[in-house]
């Protein structure tokens, strides 16, 4: 079994600050590189995000198999569920599960919605989508490669349900950026 954080306290704290900063400023890329030795299928930023947030109290869904799945089960201690709609945290290493199938919370408890940690091929600031909404002064640009072709349509539907909706953490290698449900995405024009 490959290790988790070298230091469970400061590893989690540093990862959380990257996540908090990412969530507060959607589209700004943060670095989170505290897990140097991981199963091949897991990106360091995605594994750190899950390890920071998930535990025995949270249902986790993942499409990872083999060593990566065992690593997640062992180090988070979270119950792994087969049904993505029942999960509070999801880590997708391959195809993104359709956003509409995930738990979006309810009008009274929108905080019960799922957080999807999605590994993608690349993340780049300064080009790509135009993001606006809370946390963004004028406009942030973010480019992500390796997402489904209808991603922006799915996201628009997710945004439509505000205050309900899924929150997204995009991870590529040691870099991560977040899209809270409040963020509007415009395709680059």
């Amino acid at each position: 079994m490959r290790p988790a954080f070298n230091d469970p306290v400061f590893g989690a704290q540093e990862s959380f600050r990257a996540l908090m900063e990412a969530m507060a400023r959607p589209g700004r890329i943060q670095r989170c590189d505290v897990l140097p030795d991981l199963p091949e299928a897991l990106a360091p930023s995605a594994a750190a995000a899950l390890l920071t947030l998930a535990d025995a109290e949270t249902a986790v869904w993942t499409d990872a198999t083999g060593e990566a799945r065992e690593w997640i089960a062992f180090h988070t201690g979270a119950p792994l569920v087969a049904d993505a709609s029942k999960a509070q945290f999801l880590l997708a290493t391959g195809t993104m599960p359709a956003l509409a199938t995930l738990d979006a919370g309810s009008d009274e408890t929108p905080q019960d919605s799922a957080t999807l940690i999605l590994q993608c091929e690349t993340l780049a600031e300064g080009a790509g989508w135009r993001l606006s909404g809370p946390g963004i002064e004028h406009e942030h640009r973010l480019g992500a490669a390796g997402l489904p072709a209808d991603f922006t349509a799915q996201w628009a539907a997710n945004r439509q349900g505000f205050p309900c909706g899924v929150d997204l953490v995009l991870c590529a290698g040691a870099r991560l950026a977040a899209l809270p449900r409040s963020t509007r995405i415009e395709e680059a024009g």
Partner: protein, 289 residues
């Protein structure tokens, strides 16, 4: 990037008996999950399992738990109570974190990365590198209008804030202005009515489009909520009665500032009064110039 030297490594801290920043890791994870959802839903109150802290409710237990969950060894912490760094509440919370987290503390607003506050926002404009943590006694802005929490949750879900508007209307009809000089409710992102905590109305405009992230913790009421940076925050008002932040018309008798928020102090037993800045760091800085 420099490697972190854990400041609470054995032999390096006066308090070996506690985890870094007092709370255990499972509690921090629970609070961190609540904080991320709070940022994703600006102004919405998220319930959390607030722990008993080694100080009584009403002394900032909510703010302390939020600070403990985000605090790291690279942070510089400032704590203010009504703007002052040198009052009992501020001193004891600052000492608490210096002791259980061994973090650097400061009284200078400009140097701080995390500012925990009771009832003020510093005069100096905040920056993107700073996080404000507010201590909140009563997070529910509809509390005095609707006592049933189940009902207030429903009103928030429906976005039905007519009770608060009627209350404001009645204040204006009776006395010509809003009845709340502090804790004046705000609309966040045009969706949620939120208690800004008991900050004076003077500070309400600083919540709007702030470069800094604002986190709110209520320990007794077990709620966390947030205003992300650059988010629309509008004080509740009417078109024909716009919100007016209030300030005593005097100048500070220590630094002479005519723009900062002032505390009124009884100066002698003849009824004499002076006005001084509520923000002690700002006042000292202005005096030094």
């Amino acid at each position: 990037m420099n490697a972190i030297t854990p400041r609470n490594a054995p032999g390096n801290t006066p308090e070996h008996a506690y985890n870094f920043a007092y709370l255990d890791e499972a509690t921090k994870r629970m609070i961190r999950r609540a904080i991320l959802k709070a940022i994703a839903i600006p102004g919405h109150q998220i319930p959390f399992g607030a722990r008993e802290m080694p100080l009584p409710y009403g002394w900032g237990t909510g703010g302390i738990q939020v600070t403990a969950a985000i605090l790291g060894p690279r942070d510089v912490l400032k704590v203010i109570d009504q703007g002052a760094d040198d009052t009992t509440n501020a001193v004891s919370i600052r000492r608490f974190f210096a002791r259980v987290a061994n973090v650097e503390t400061t009284t200078r607003t400009a140097e701080a990365t995390i500012i925990q506050t009771r009832h003020r926002i510093p005069e100096r404009p905040l920056t993107e590198g700073q996080v404000m943590v507010f201590q909140v006694p009563m997070p529910e802005p509809l509390f005095r209008l609707e006592p049933r929490l189940a009902e207030t949750r429903r009103l928030h879900a429906l976005g039905d804030y007519s009770l608060a508007q009627v209350r404001l209307y009645e204040d204006i009809a009776r006395q010509g202005e809003s009845g709340s000089a502090y804790n004046h409710p705000v609309m966040v992102g045009g969706r949620y009515l939120m208690s800004p905590s008991p900050i004076p109305g003077f500070d309400n405009p600083k919540l709007h489009n702030s470069p800094a992230l604002m986190l709110f913790g209520a320990g007794r009421e077990k709620k966390i909520y947030a205003v992300p940076p650059y988010t629309e925050v509008r004080s509740l008002d009417f078109e024909d009665h716009p919100f007016k932040p209030m300030r005593a018309p005097q100048c500070c008798s220590a630094c002479g500032s005519a723009t900062s928020y002032l505390d009124e102090i009884v100066a002698d037993d003849q009824g004499g009064r002076i006005f001084v800045c509520s923000d002690t760091d700002h006042c000292a800085e202005t005096q030094g110039q």
